[in-house]
Symmetry: C2
Subunit: 340 residues, 2 copies
């Protein structure tokens, strides 16, 4: 069973940082669809968004919003997903959810199409498919081809995460702080409650009793689910940096088998959705401003880790657009799998 | 043999980012000194700097600048140190050098006083003492107390380095880019040749054929020298973030012995020059803006690494003022050792 050829689509959270990305991505990819319904909270209802020459008025999300809708792309946070995704499914709408709400639900496939499209094989519509955590997607796009080749035994990841992961209000406040600095005013901290410009800080998600925050736990758990392999040992430190919309990560790998940097580079060069940016001579490696707006995950600093036995370890540095492959693009790719 | 009680001091590179820090630090620490000579390139000569109510005119650095000087604090880059430090020593001046020029010279002690003050025991004046790389100092201040307790077998470090490490011109251009953004102009890239605001990039030091840059190699080699232990295995990835003056690092440790997070926190709480900032409830951990202007290295996110056997691994996140403990303060502390 699959989605109809020209599904009627609803976008939940249409005015958010991820929500705004769906329409350009649908157009770029030539995703054929029927009607389009843009949904958001009552605060944003009534605003208009242009798409394909048409002006769409944003409607308030209500329990009856999904009538006649085949596919709903959710990106309005976990509490909205928790309340409305089951309502949508009950009305016959298939949900692709960007929130963390259903990711670890064993009945919900957690999908990065380049990695585990097969996990959709037994999916029956209507239902819910989850998009993984954005940092997990960005890191796994680069690591998975190497994992497939020789097996990853352990990984140590330190992230450099952008404002976009926390939504449009954070992006706006980071920009506002640059204005404040330029004009010699105290920093505006209405949304963040802190200085973000010229600063960085430990990820703001809730801290667990083991000293790991929720973002770190998500990356570990979701990697295990996406790879269907709980045995991979993972240590993650998640840090927010003053970047607008692309996440980076420094990744140290320990392999089960053996893999040297040249072979790893070769594997990554032919990996779908991955672009190797690894020019040692020009000192040119992945940067968030280069990843922003791009579909591909950039990977570089590919080098043998000499702190491990020869061939047993490798370092990487990745950058990926958190709003595109880390969220909206990955969701649209899942929709393409469900139409096919 | 030691420095005289009130040494005559020269500061080489007095108008640079580190150079400007020496005078306030000498005053704060009540470092008694005789005459003070501020030296810089011909470009900066003639400008004046206020200190203790006196106005000092910056003089041009020449081979005769060290006459009557007991102690010269160098911070004008490796090529200036290479040329002038031997001239100074020949004239009887002891040099404390912030550059990388002499760090790996086996006749030059490489000193972080809290860590290896003893390596000065056989130092004979006049001579050269080197200040380690700033990121190495910041990381080792937190790691060394744990290393002393149970031995570090391997460490994986990812840095988040500030503009200050590349000097005052970088700091100014990063600030300029915030002005450019606020005023809707293209970014000024005269010094950096790139967008730095809202961005990050792999450290700009020369890249070696093994894919490690010079900054990464320095941290590895200098750690081995400071600890007098080449067996510690180290993997480092150095990244520049859009922060003005404090370096951070995410550190993953593997121990020879066993050490759990509670004991590690206890050790760090009593370590000199280290301040534990590790409030899980308030989600408050080390940030560059809190470390800036502070003497102490901040350490937090102290937690067991569950990707390693119990007690064998730990994660840390550190922040330290690159211009103070990472450079000028550490140099003045070395001077204090030489006077005592």
């Amino acid at each position: 069973m699959s989605l109809p050829d020209n599904p009627n689509i609803a976008i939940v959270g249409a005015t958010g940082a991820v929500g705004r990305e769906f329409l350009p991505i649908l157009r770029e990819r030539g995703f054929s669809h029927g009607s389009l319904r843009l949904l958001a909270s009552s605060r944003s209802a009534g605003s208009t968004i242009e798409h394909d020459g048409n002006s769409h008025t944003v409607q308030e999300l209500t329990p009856s919003s999904f009538e006649g809708i085949d596919l709903a792309l959710f990106s309005a946070g976990a509490s909205i997903s928790k309340e409305y995704a089951p309502i949508a499914v009950k009305q016959g709408t298939t949900v692709i959810d960007n929130s963390s709400c259903f990711r670890m639900d064993e009945n919900v496939p957690l999908i990065v199409p380049e990695i585990n499209r097969k996990a959709l094989d037994n999916f029956s519509l209507p239902g819910i498919v989850a998009v993984p955590n954005c940092s997990a997607i960005v890191a796994l796009m680069a690591i998975t081809p190497l994992h497939r080749a020789v097996g990853v035994e352990r990984m140590v990841i330190s992230t450099y995460q952008a404002a976009s992961g926390a939504g449009a209000a954070w992006m706006a406040e980071l920009e506002q702080q640059a204005h404040d600095f330029a004009e010699g005013r105290p920093y505006t901290t209405k949304v963040l409650g802190r200085q973000y410009l010229f600063n960085l800080f430990s990820h703001n998600s809730p801290m667990g009793s083991d000293g790991s925050n929720e973002e770190e736990r998500k990356i570990i758990q979701e990697t295990h689910k996406i790879w269907a392999d709980d045995s991979v040992r993972i240590s993650v430190t998640c840090i927010r940096v003053a970047v607008l919309r692309a996440h980076c990560a420094s990744i140290n790998l320990t392999f089960r088998g053996k893999l040297e940097e040249d072979k790893a580079r070769e594997i990554l060069q032919s990996a779908p959705g991955v672009k190797v940016v690894d020019d040692r001579e020009a000192n040119k490696f992945p940067e968030p401003i280069d990843a922003a707006g791009q579909d591909d995950i950039l990977v570089g600093r590919i080098r043998n880790d000499n702190s491990q036995p020869a061939g047993k370890g490798l370092n990487l540095f990745v950058a990926g657009d958190q709003l595109r492959k880390g969220a909206a693009l990955n969701a649209v790719q899942i929709a393409e799998c469900l139409v096919a």
